[in-house]
Symmetry: C2
Subunit: 488 residues, 2 copies
């Protein structure tokens, strides 16, 4: 017997057991743990971590005493019992992100989560030194979510081999698909935990089409083993989100019904109920599928957030709306100004928008190999663009809205978009309009302060008077202006 | 008998007759002329021009001798006969604009017409001195079409009374709707002719909703009289286009079927078959109506030209895609850069785009009355914005494409739009993309010159080498770049 084990709410309780190394532990050994507290019983799967080590991970979501019992077809792993006490969460630990009130995200403790994501598809596969640079960049607080692939990525500017492979075997294609490689997954979970320590959600991409090793064409048995393994291994980390795919419609080895299958697997097997989404290339997945928690959209038309809210009745996340950069491909050569606009238009239409950056820096683009170029979108590293600072400016404005306020798309007339809470707070964006003034009909029985936000120059200028009712607001007659209007 | 009368092809033959002044000449007197040439017989209506003067106007479209006979229920006007000789058109007289090959405009002599329109809704109602300024502005060659209302306009910055009224009576609403006012229409035809002398098409708006006099709520008999009158009076001017409405869907006194009726009236009664369109506010008219010659669209999404071509199988004209200006209303506060972009995107997707300008210059905007501000969009005058020069730059590029070339939308991948003629000529626009290079697959058996067009700085820079096949083209890595690629 040990002394009392204390686990902070939403942190990971990890039970380590020693078991067999013979046979195929990934397939032969069944292991799960049943966790019991006063009003709850939750069974979660364990997993094999290599070298005879088996683990069961659990994220307690209720404070108080928990007991557990293991179940296994291996005697040594079976009927292990113990307990721990779940203590209240400390500051900065708000728990996992969940959907609230149809269109919004919140942490489990009720703190609003305004998603401002970025994308570094292959950053976990580049080794420690570059990952440290990436984490340092992420610590600057531009973003609170990272989209990242579990499997390594093969694509332009992603042609190096990854640090590790998910299966035993040798590249390029000589894999033993019946045996996973724990080192590969351990590396990923290290990155997940590092992101969590920075307050960043890890939006894990389960499948993707950018592949030269065969991982986009697994058979169903291997897929099942992989899915069960990553759920057993990663689901106890509070900052995990499950993204079934990047560009699901570009994966020609899979049928549409396969995606329904994966979605259902995660919804049923992840007992911690992390967010589940599926990201499109061109063709939108049917986000009305009830297992999907939010619409993860690729489209440059972020102003359609309002329309998609009505269509899908879920949070709308434009995870890719083209990236700031200068590469030949049109999804990766947006100006900072345009990407900043897309963020403002998305947010002021009730959506969430994601960032990516694709600057080639060394040379004019050369075709087959760009291995000397480290693009944020592919490998992480440093940010070179101007949009992150502007996105952070927007994020600060959104996060400084009155506590727990859920911004609702209000009136919209092209190109004037507005979110807020009626009578309380309005954030309006004028996009490329350059009016000398605008007229807004505010409630007549209240007084409001109005601030002029220059979204590009990142200034907030209060107008030195109060407004009420039919209000003429003089403006600087230049583009990229927003208005913040708050009840006195 | 007079000596031989010569009329240049597509110019106006006008027969003037004296007739009764008693009764109601607008209603009581029937008058038409039958014009006969070797292979053609055309009957056109006459009209009453006031003070006992009746006229019949005719635009001969075939060279050679024409004879005519008048028909009337008034003896003095009946059975008048005569002849004239239609001579070939002189230089700069290309005839009326017609539709060619489904998607294009051409003058009757085969010269391509690339439509670059602008909008001065109420310019004809402001008096001679301002009209002279407007005409001088139009003589600078930015635009080759003017959208203009026949009826006076009542709207913000349009609150002065017009020079003349279309009916006898006194403002605001004391009209004798059974009697038209020839002075009103004579003023308009003067402006039509002046525009023609500048090579500018007059896109006449028959009805519009901006009204304080009652002209948007005529009864059907009055509408018929008005329609027949303007056809009799204006249709012989070669530069006339008929636009049934501005913002037809904002005219609450009219039913949808009324618009079908008007369209049919013009199609059947105008024997010179001028272009016919109908312009929307929010709701598109069904441009598949076979009497409609082209789709006249209000939408800021000019890049959808390609889509609308497929939908309507007609020329696509974005007559309003928001205006350059600084007024509070979102349709009138675009930056010059944004409007220029909309032109480029529209044109490189196979459409035509129109301009408007709404700069308030004197004061911050004041509500009820802005009569001291002369906005181009409402009254004409001078242009203050930067978009016209940029539009002219684009126009020159389009007009300098190889002779009679009809630019076809070719491949498009967001945001890369391209029109051209396969293997011959390509004009591609990169919008807000800022790639350091692009890759284009040109035919392998030919060589091409490539020029980099900076659409905002209005420079054209040839690349000093020839391209063929899979071509990497280095670019300046900034937005608003276009490429002109021509076969050697």
């Amino acid at each position: 017997m040990y002394g009392q084990v204390n686990i902070e709410k939403w942190k990971v309780f990890e039970l380590t057991l020693n078991g067999p190394t013979n046979g195929n532990p990934y397939i032969d050994v069944k292991l799960s743990g049943k966790f019991i507290t006063e009003n709850d019983t939750i069974s979660v799967p364990g997993f094999y971590d290599g070298e005879g080590v088996y683990k069961i991970r659990f994220m307690p979501q209720n404070e108080g005493k928990w007991t557990y019992t293991t179940f296994s077809n291996v005697k040594k792993l079976n009927n292990q019992k113990g307990s721990f006490v779940c203590l209240q969460a400390k500051r900065y630990n708000h728990g996992p992100v969940v959907v609230k009130d149809t269109f919004y995200f919140t942490y489990a403790d009720g703190t609003p989560h305004h998603s401002f994501g970025t994308t570094c598809y292959g950053w976990v596969h580049q080794g420690d030194s570059l990952a440290e640079v990436t984490l340092k960049t992420m610590s600057q607080g531009y973003f609170n979510k990272m989209r990242m692939c579990i499997f390594p990525k093969s694509y332009d500017w992603n042609n190096n081999e990854p640090l590790y492979y998910p299966f035993e075997g040798t590249p390029l294609k000589n894999w033993n698909y019946s045996r996973l490689n724990p080192v590969f997954f351990r590396n990923i979970e290290t990155r997940i935990m590092q992101l969590d320590s920075l307050g960043v959600e890890a939006d894990l991409i389960v499948f993707h089409p950018y592949d030269r090793w065969g991982f986009s064409r697994l058979d169903r048995a291997t897929e099942n083993m992989y899915i069960e393994y990553i759920i057993a291994r990663f689901a106890a980390f509070k900052n995990v989100w499950w993204s079934m795919a990047n560009e699901w419609d570009f994966m020609d080895a899979k049928k549409p019904s396969d995606w329904d299958y994966y979605v259902e697997q995660f919804a049923k097997k992840d007992k911690f109920h992390h967010l589940i989404s599926i990201h499109n290339g061109v063709k939108f997945y049917d986000h009305t599928n009830p297992y999907i928690t939010h619409a993860s959209i690729q489209s440059e038309d972020t102003y359609k957030a309002k329309e998609y809210r009505m269509k899908y009745k879920k949070p709308i996340v434009f995870d890719e709306c083209r990236y700031e950069g200068n590469i030949p491909w049109s999804w990766g050569n947006l100006t900072a100004k345009s990407l900043t606009e897309k963020f403002w238009r998305g947010v002021t239409n009730g959506g969430y928008v994601g960032h990516g950056e694709t600057y080639v820096t060394e040379n004019p683009v050369i075709f087959p190999d760009q291995s000397y170029d480290i693009l944020w979108w592919s490998k992480g590293g440093v940010l070179r663009g101007e949009s992150p600072a502007h996105i952070k400016f927007l994020r600060q404005i959104i996060e400084s809205a009155p506590a727990k306020m859920q911004l609702i798309p209000l009136f919209t007339w092209m190109p004037f978009s507005c979110v807020g809470v009626d009578r309380e707070y309005y954030l309006c964006y004028l996009n490329d309009a350059q009016p000398r003034s605008v007229v807004i009909d505010l409630p007549k029985d209240l007084f409001y302060t109005v601030e002029i936000i220059d979204t590009w120059n990142m200034t907030i200028t209060p107008i030195g008077k109060k407004f009420s009712g039919h209000s003429l607001i003089e403006l600087p007659a230049k583009p990229y202006i927003a208005l913040r209007i708050m009840k006195q």
